[in-house]
Amino acid sequence: MEQSESTRAALVGYAKIFGVEITPEEESLERSVQEIIGFLDDLETLDLDGVPPAVAYDPTWPRVNEVLR
């Protein structure tokens, strides 16, 4: 229980840095923030050292129906 309280306090503090207030009643918001942090952690299973971020649009990919317009 003590650990969960301290984890919660850390989460609330973290969210506050970004201007997001999590009140004790907002359990669902708290879960949503936890999900995001959990998924960020999942990325750490990859070796991303020196990897360039993917581009949103790959210019070599044709956008077929726009070409035909």
Binding site: L48, P53, E66
Partner: protein, 468 residues
């Protein structure tokens, strides 16, 4: 069954094309049958925001006049279609199921998708229900045609429900984290998420621009490819079936086969066994980065959604639903570095999935489309044996999101029913730009499943007028 001994609303697009061209059926008759089906089912289904019956009837009459003179409008001549209400349709407001757009003006022009469908002769019969701004998987107030107490999935829930029940012969959806494939899976229809970037998203309200993909929902793989062909401007869309022994399928453990409802596991396992017994070569093809791909998809999705909606939600949160408000609020804790890490991860997983296809020589990967079938509308948690229940959003996107990050094309087809008689979807992922082969494979699998379960097995009872 053909329309001659049944209802034209039950035809596939391929069957309707034959009937229309032979003169056995008119566009007006087909549109009327579809609208009649809608009037019978909408009280329970709520698949549509707006039906455009009068316009559809007028266009059908014009097409019939032209057809009597020997002129057909295109491959979709006379085909009644639904369009998710995040696509612009000229003359109609794009409300995105959001109070924030309740007074939005009518769109002045069609989205590119709608323009392409109309150019091919398709007739728009209405706009279908979406989750607010396509950000979620519930699609309230639309319901599931197999059981109206359950959700149709989302966010293209109205489109899937309409196609399943026959109040549209095909429909447009969008897929950012699974929003075509999820409702296709839980409503028992076919859904095609094309390769990212192949089809224009012009005139479609964005959710997360680097993942947003538009595509069709339909009753069969052939119909999905016909619609895809119209959207992409392809000349030839008739699929030749592949011999089952010419298909090599990869199974990716563990990500795609853990934490499944028992009914989903059984149906998919039996479907794969059926494929193998039919001659399909089935091999293990592990993709160790699937979980990270899903995580990257989630992060990119949330970060971009936050950017799209931040100002509106801040300015007037009461004009947005609680799910979207919370999503935007929670996503604002995302550090820029987190988003960039996710984009780096995207580079890695695009390469690693390509390597899986190369190393194992597979044509496609198959998996369950969703770990759970349609959930009750009043209990949005999926329960599995021996593990904590999972929220509907996390559960339904677990299998689909990795392929939004890689961008490859994915087809979902129904492959069986669970113990409640609810449909289970099979997700089939192919190489980028391989939509044709993907749909040929899907059509070949459909033939096998129809032989096993009987014709019409994936049609919900509501379509046949059974009171639920």
């Amino acid at each position: 069954m053909t329309w001659l001994d049944g209802d034209p609303a039950d035809l596939t697009i391929a069957e309707a094309q034959v009937a229309l061209r032979s003169g056995a059926l008119t566009a007006a008759e087909l549109v009327e049958a579809t609208l009649t089906r809608a009037s019978r089912t909408e009280r329970q289904l709520h698949a549509y925001v707006t039906l455009t019956g009068d316009q559809a009837r007028a266009i059908a009459e014009e097409q019939d006049d032209a057809a009597r003179g020997g002129t057909f409008s295109g491959p979709l001549h006379g085909i009644p279609l639904g369009v998710k209400d995040i696509f612009d349709v000229a003359g109609l407001p794009t409300k995105c199921n959001s109070k924030s757009r309740s007074r939005v003006a009518a769109a002045r022009e069609d989205s590119t998708s709608v323009e392409m469908l109309r150019r091919a002769g398709g007739i728009i019969v209405g706009k279908t229900v979406t989750q607010e701004f396509a950000a979620g998987v519930v699609s309230h107030p639309a319901r599931n045609p197999w059981d109206p107490n359950r959700i149709p999935g989302g966010s293209s829930g109205g489109s899937a429900a309409a196609v399943a029940v026959g109040s549209a012969m095909g429909a447009m959806g969008s897929d950012t984290g699974g929003s075509i494939r999820i409702p296709a899976s839980v409503c028992g229809t076919v859904g095609l998420k094309p390769t990212y970037g192949v089809l224009s998203t012009k005139g479609v309200f964005p959710l997360a621009w680097s993942l947003d993909t538009v595509g069709p929902l339909a009753k069969s793989a052939q119909d999905a490819y016909t619609l895809y062909g119209a959207l992409a401007g392809l000349q030839e869309t008739t699929l030749e079936l592949l011999g089952l022994s010419d298909i090599r399928v990869g199974i990716s453990h563990p990500h795609f086969f853990e934490r499944l409802q028992p009914g989903v596991y059984s149906a998919v396992r039996e479907a794969i066994a059926l494929l193998a017994s039919g001659g399909v070569e089935v091999v293990d093809a592990p993709w160790n980065d699937a979980r990270a791909a899903r995580a990257a998809g989630f992060i990119i999705n949330r970060a971009e959604t936050e950017v799209v909606h931040r100002d509106g939600v801040k300015r007037n949160p009461k004009r947005y639903g609680p799910v979207l408000v919370e999503r935007v609020k929670a996503s604002s804790v995302m550090p820029a570095g987190g988003y960039l890490r996710a984009l780096q991860a995207r580079s890695v997983v695009r390469e690693s999935i390509e390597q899986v296809f190369i190393d194992h020589g597979v044509d496609v990967l198959v998996s369950p489309a969703t770990p759970a079938t349609a959930l009750p509308a009043d209990d949005l948690y999926a329960a599995y044996d021996g593990t904590e229940p999972e929220s509907v959003t996390l559960a339904y996107t677990r299998m689909t999101m990795p392929f939004n990050v890689t961008g490859q094309p994915v087809l979902v087809i129904p492959c069986g029913l669970d113990e409640h008689g609810l449909p289970v979807g099979l997700q089939i992922a192919a190489r980028p730009f391989d939509e044709e082969r993907l749909c040929r494979i899907g059509a070949s699998f459909e033939g096998l499943f129809s032989n096993q379960f009987g014709a019409g097995w994936s049609r919900p009872p509501m379509a046949a007028g059974v009171a639920l």
